[in-house]
Symmetry: C2
Subunit: 337 residues, 2 copies
Amino acid sequence: MNDNFNAAPHRRYNILTGEWVLVSPHRTKRPWQGKKEETSKPEMIAHDPNCYLCATNTRINGEINPDYKNTFVFSNDFGALLPDSLDFKEDNGLLKAEGETGICKVICFSPNHSLTLPDMEVSDIEKVITTWQEEYKELGAKPEINHVQIFENKGATMGCSNPHPHGQIWAQKSIPNEVIKKTEKQKEYFQKHGKSLLTAYIEQELKENERIVSQNDSFVSLVPFWAVWPYEVMIVPKNHRKSISELTDKEKLDYAEQLKVVTQKYDKLFDTSFPYSSGIHQSPTNGEYPEWHFHMSFYPPLLRSATVKKFMVGYEMFGMPQRDITAELAAKSLREL
Amino acid sequence: MNDNFNAAPHRRYNILTGEWVLVSPHRTKRPWQGKKEETSKPEMIAHDPNCYLCATNTRINGEINPDYKNTFVFSNDFGALLPDSLDFKEDNGLLKAEGETGICKVICFSPNHSLTLPDMEVSDIEKVITTWQEEYKELGAKPEINHVQIFENKGATMGCSNPHPHGQIWAQKSIPNEVIKKTEKQKEYFQKHGKSLLTAYIEQELKENERIVSQNDSFVSLVPFWAVWPYEVMIVPKNHRKSISELTDKEKLDYAEQLKVVTQKYDKLFDTSFPYSSGIHQSPTNGEYPEWHFHMSFYPPLLRSATVKKFMVGYEMFGMPQRDITAELAAKSLREL
Ligand SMILES: O=P(O)(O)O[C@H]1O[C@H](CO)[C@@H](O)[C@H](O)[C@H]1O
Ligand SMILES: O=P(O)(O)O[C@H]1O[C@H](CO)[C@@H](O)[C@H](O)[C@H]1O
């Protein structure tokens, strides 16, 4: 590793988005007198009569949840996107807007209210992946859906209003900003080198062995060189897979295993149910994207303890993201747990 | 106004960054069971012996603050950027990093610990602007500084660890991501039309009169068409000014007045000391940027009340920003206060 990384402030380039992050390794010494997060108490009961995600309970719109045994998917009762909303276009050069349609779904990972991903059996995490695959395929096949965003907000700090283990899918007509950036960069590389950008990147990461958190036959979990969030992790298939629908059975098992390993390490890091937003970036569904190499990222806000998070405010909003610990140190802490 | 804006989910284009925001006007009806923010209690004392920003107190590094009467500027004792840190470059195509130098400063707006910007006299806010001008000029004149970011984080929710009225400046060698995007878009427009993008934009906004919050002779405060944060506001000079250093005396007074008006409206909106990050985007300091039209933006997180904020998580991190109320409704609420 370049010794300067831990010695001097520097910026690092994100090859997937083309944007930079400011790294200030000396800044961890800063005393923190600001806001403390509340730590979340673990849920004790497997079925909460007041939870609208638990099996057999009634949701706000009057529907009754089935007595589901593994995963359960339904359309979000307050979706930000609606399937049949008005299509319109306004463009006078300065004010540009267009109607956006889509489908928002909620995926319960388990009927057990008290679990989170790291507590689940690998075989049950596999069932979550199967559900993601089915949704990605089914939604992506619709002519009016061009992009399927699978994500999870975990913990109150991440705007999650219900501890029941669940994630979301927002599928829509247009391709979101972040995905456009990553498509461009991956395409550039693929056209020039005939292999995926992430194939080359993880080859180098596996050789350098400085930012790897965990791996198995088909997946590697690492803190990306350009990580923004303190303990950001990316889970990447070793073989070039454009989306989760291309996984073999063995790969699916290995993916589930890495999901468990990473989230377990997170919970151990500060001895708390670790909050994060995670998301899967993969090929849009409106055509062929041979350059896309799917990956799942975790953006966790905690910085120093269960109660002290990194604030992405002021400078980060107006300038660029800034982080205090290096990706290498974060990877080391996670790896050694 | 286009009636569809309040009727259907849509996306809007940010002419300054080239990015989109998803607007879901129907989503305000969603019940909120999630995290509540703590409201900040107003500070009661004008001088707090435990505050490291109050006059005559000792800071963590042993320095004693002067008995300042208006503003007071010092170098951040825990700056993310350092003036003399190592310069290095690493680039193998996939791992790209370079040493970054800079200067981080803290600006106390007033010796009075219990004030915030909206409580201050317009003439005292003018002195804050004068200090910003001096710092922008002085820092910008250094050959090793190419960009000067002035900003304020207000409130514990925005990572501010001290209620004493203060802001920050991070000045650095490279141009941050956000500023690069805005430079490109403004340049494109300026080269094509021979006037600044924001000149044309505010002309149209003043004509439509739908998103204006307040104005005086030289400044207009509005909720931009592409606003991301619920009550985001942009303060823009009516005359094309590349930076705050180009303001006439009259313009400076008018700017101070709008700063007071906007922040006062904020405090009234939910009857609380309104948290936000604000920042000034203006011409970088490493050359001529005839296209730049300076503006100050406020990014406030509160959505529905003093305790319910908008979370930019999951979908917003992986896809694109999403908002619930339209810019037009937000502007109306602020305007009518
Ligand atoms: O420098 P402060 O006020 O201690 O810190 C605050 O503002 C900085 C600049 O926006 C951020 O990097 C920090 O995360 C935030 O807590
Ligand atoms: O849909 P939820 O879980 O109620 O809401 C949460 O996730 C959404 C998608 O990331 C965000 O837009 C909301 O701000 C957040 O509170």
